[in-house]
């Protein structure tokens, strides 16, 4: 039946690609939710641009996943015909937009990881991945710069903005640990130099975040507890709602071409 979700044969490479593609799609989708809601038009455009970059990255990665799986799936069956437990994205990416400050902190946390991650991935032994990485690295550098500037502005702006953005840092902090995880499946790819182990990027990330938060006069949360589960399909409640919106048309008209 065309209405049911697809089954994916998650070899280590396919699983890896879906994880990274899902990160980009879900975060890009979140940013696209800002249309018509931005605090200034220029920012509405900037958020849309970042969203477009991420959706573009997702599409490249899904296309490669489809090729690697070779089971007749494509970018749209991956995006529209998997239910929440089949999604492999970071919990961070699916967290709601909140206010503009929360959206910017979420972006900063992700981009401060994605930027060095994709830079390192340009050395991947897999030519397709190296090419995706080269494009993503350039885009992530801009996303990082843009979100850093806003977090600094808001943190060191008014009393209200400081309080709001500090709250966002505290709320999102527990979702940052998951970015550095490397499970057995990913380990085999890292051993073969197809991907890199993200764990060693932790120091660079801490350095970037520490510097931005300090310029923003914000403090790092003391609580070190980290949530995880997104990589294996155990998500927060938010993802199901996001997917019910995103997948609505595809699920309502099964098998139709658009």
């Amino acid at each position: 039946m065309a209405t049911t979700s697809i089954q994916v044969n998650e070899t280590p490479l396919v699983l890896y690609l879906l994880r990274r593609a899902d990160d980009a799609l879900i975060l890009g989708h979140r940013l696209s939710e800002w249309i018509g809601l931005g605090p200034i038009l220029e920012e509405e455009m900037a958020l849309g641009n970042i969203g477009l970059d991420l959706i573009g990255q997702a599409r490249s990665l899904y296309a490669y996943a489809a090729e690697a799986e070779a089971a007749g799936n494509d970018e749209d069956t991956f995006a529209y015909l998997r239910d929440a437990p089949q999604y492999r994205n970071l919990l961070l990416a699916e967290q709601p937009n909140g206010d503009f400050g929360q959206t910017m902190v979420r972006q900063l946390f992700y981009s401060a990881f994605a930027d060095p991650y994709w830079r390192a991935m340009t050395a991947s032994g897999d030519a397709t991945l190296a090419a995706v990485a080269a494009k993503s690295e350039k885009e992530s550098a801009y996303h990082l710069r843009h979100s850093s500037e806003w977090v600094i502005r808001l943190g060191d702006g008014t009393q209200e903005s400081h309080a709001r953005v500090q709250e966002a840092v505290d709320v999102l902090w527990p979702y940052t640990g998951e970015m550095f995880e490397c499970d057995a499946a990913e380990r085999t790819l890292a051993d073969g130099r197809t991907v890199i182990d993200p764990a060693p990027l932790r120091d660079a990330w801490d350095g970037t975040i520490g510097a931005v938060l300090s310029r923003a006069t914000l403090t790092l949360p003391q609580n070190g507890w980290m949530q995880s589960g997104g990589r294996t399909g155990r998500h927060s409640e938010h993802l199901g709602h996001l997917l019910s919106t995103m997948q609505h048309v595809q699920r309502t008209y099964p098998g139709a071409a658009w």
């Binding site: 605090p39 038009l41 808001l154 702006g157």
Partner: protein, 339 residues
């Protein structure tokens, strides 16, 4: 201004009036000669007011126009459609910014103009007060609304006011891209399942008449047209543009296998751009419900309230962000001064 206060108004006034008449004549000569008027050139106050109103209304339309399509970005049925729709809405935001900048050259600030939009004082295109109910509306809007916008805007690329004309050249390129994307969505739906084709027909049924209204009241009733024509702001009448639009629309509709919801649509032989069975002529639409148009302009369209409320809410909820950015910029400036 202050220096003028030094001269005796009684003697200065006739001299100023004569000077004004000379300037006005010279201005009209330049317009007639197809010269572009630039921001720092002398221009009649009424010309400035007319253009400020028209360009800012156009800018508002782009900004409000983001909302009906923004309504479907999160539900676009494929990733390719999602990306192109998001990019399109981005383009419209860019058009808005570009047009506000062109309007600002005439002396009003973007903030003032935007406040007029939020307060309900300023108008924007009536078309964006209709709801987007299905995915097919993304096709219909691109095809019909962007299509109608192009008909209106291509002549504006030769508008006598330079900054507006140049803005339009850039905007028109993107609008024609939007129009093709919209039509492509319609093609996909019309080649799809019966449900998809019905969705496309339903969208056409809902958007056809409002799109014909987009060109404004019939020529006899239009208040600003004559002067705008003399000033070469407007090159074609409302009815002429509507006719061009309809002549292009009919064959496109036929290609899709859809039917225009217009029982009185007919082909009239004569001198014309449209052809049917090899004969030249024009397609004529049935009578337009101008009362509906007036109601929508008066604020009684299906979505007038929601559209403005959405922008007001965004503006209000973003106040703390703008305040923070201003406070941060002030701190930085102070630090620079101290350094």
């Amino acid at each position: 201004m202050y220096t003028q206060g030094l001269s005796n108004p009684d003697t200065a006034a006739p001299a100023k009036a004569a000077e004004g008449a000379g300037l006005a004549a010279r201005f009209q000569e330049r317009v007639d000669a197809e010269e572009r008027i630039e921001a720092n050139d002398w221009m009649p106050d009424a010309y400035r007011r007319t253009l400020t109103r028209q360009i800012s209304q156009h800018a508002h339309s782009e900004i409000i126009g983001m909302l009906p399509e923004g309504n479907w970005v999160t539900r676009a049925p494929t990733l390719r459609r999602k990306a192109t729709l998001l990019a399109k809405v981005q383009d419209e935001a860019g058009h808005g910014l570009y047009l506000y900048a062109a309007a600002e050259t005439l002396g009003r600030s973007r903030e003032e103009m935007f406040d007029d939009l939020l307060s309900g004082k300023a108008k924007y295109s009536s078309i964006f007060n209709y709801p987007t109910l299905t995915w097919a509306d993304m096709g219909a809007i691109g095809w019909l609304v962007d299509g109608a916008a192009i008909m209106n805007q291509i002549p504006l690329c030769r508008c006598s006011y330079g900054p507006y004309a140049r803005a339009m050249i850039r905007v028109c390129k993107e609008e024609s891209f939007h129009q093709r994307q919209g039509y492509e969505i319609m093609v996909a739906l019309c080649r799809g399942t019966p449900e998809q084709k019905a969705m496309a027909q339903d969208a056409l049924n809902r958007w056809y008449w409002p799109c014909l209204m987009m060109f404004g009241p019939p020529d006899g009733d239009s208040t600003h047209s004559d002067q705008s024509t003399r000033w070469k702001i407007k090159r074609f009448s409302n009815d002429e543009l509507r006719q061009k639009f309809l002549d292009a629309l009919v064959p496109q509709t036929e290609f899709l296998g859809l039917t225009l919801p217009d029982a009185d649509l007919r082909f009239e032989l004569g001198e014309g751009d449209a052809t049917k069975d090899g004969a030249r002529g024009h397609w004529r639409h049935g009578s337009i419900n101008w009362d509906e148009f007036r109601q929508v302009l008066a604020g009684n369209g299906p979505c007038n309230r929601e559209r403005i409320a959405a922008r007001r809410r965004a503006h209000k909820e973003g106040a703390w962000v703008r305040e923070a950015a201003a406070a941060y910029a002030a701190k930085q400036a102070k630090q620079k001064l101290a350094a």
